[in-house]
Symmetry: C2
Subunit: 191 residues, 2 copies
Amino acid sequence: VPAVARTSTLEIVAAGRVLLESGGLDALTMQAVATRIGIRGPSLYKRVPGRNGLLAALAADGYRELERDIREAIRGDEPPEDLRRAAAAYRAFAHRSPHLYALMFAPLPADARAPVDVAAASAAPILDLMTAWLGAPRALEAARLVTAFAHGFVSMELSGAFRLGGEVDGAWTAGIETLIAGFGRPTSPPR
Amino acid sequence: VPAVARTSTLEIVAAGRVLLESGGLDALTMQAVATRIGIRGPSLYKRVPGRNGLLAALAADGYRELERDIREAIRGDEPPEDLRRAAAAYRAFAHRSPHLYALMFAPLPADARAPVDVAAASAAPILDLMTAWLGAPRALEAARLVTAFAHGFVSMELSGAFRLGGEVDGAWTAGIETLIAGFGRPTSPPR
DNA sequence: ACCTGAACACCGTTCAAGT
DNA sequence: ACCTGAACACCGTTCAAGT
């Protein structure tokens, strides 16, 4: 007698997302996911290769959402203004889904990380923007500077590293403006 | 009959460091630490409040080493050149101890994180450097820009996020030079 | 005063047995 | 074809018992 499916991969990933965002990685246990769906833990293994595979799927969803958010923020008119908007979208994503954001960049085993191409694709909108602004030769390095600043700032902010006072929002804006100023000025290499 | 101590907190932390750097966080189990010292797991709890406390001690050591490395790299003559040296010391620390570096910034429970003041102190040398260069009003925001770029770049680099080709060393240098160029130019706030 | 074996709670995962 | 209980290996942690 064939049994009828009582859940789906989509439902499992959705339950994982809720648990992750509400209680962090520790709260995301296979048993908690199963209970939330109304099945038993072992049943999850029919649809998901294991906890690490579930984490990888969640991270991949995160990269796709981040890419979409950034893409929607870019209008294609003025590059500096587009960069301000793209950076704001990046930071807003991390603020909206802090635990998912942390998962995306967490130093986990390879089978718990998003596929390389999915992660790489999320960097494309900013790379395209910098190409339109500065031209292909400088674009990759410039995109890496922007991405590194955005990720570094946001991850330090989320982990509570900015405790020396001062306005965090102001530091973000000042950072972006300094980058924009730097891009507009030819760099002199070190001696 | 009082028993004689067969280990010390220092030895426990040292064993934890070796396990962390050779196999990552997963390899750092209380049993592995105990075995490496030649005692049994439960004995560790006489010196360390638990695994999270051990992680916090390791992270604190990391912040102190990082602070020392950066401080030693700064000579106090030319600020831009000092910034290049300080940034290089930062990146070198992360390359030398990648798992410890990841632990320092990992989103762990509060009792597994380094004390706030120890983490904050590691940012002091760069803050002082930027104060000497740009003056107190701009220094905090400038230091946060530098630190965010350095942390973001290094953590993306270590997690393998830079897979689109290009020279990673070149992107690092170009990033630092763009920051230096940006600091030398007054920023225009967004409309 | 410190160390240890035994035990507990919890977790990820496997698998034979059910329907 | 899917779900489940039972079981296994492993981990962090506690604690009474040893010396």
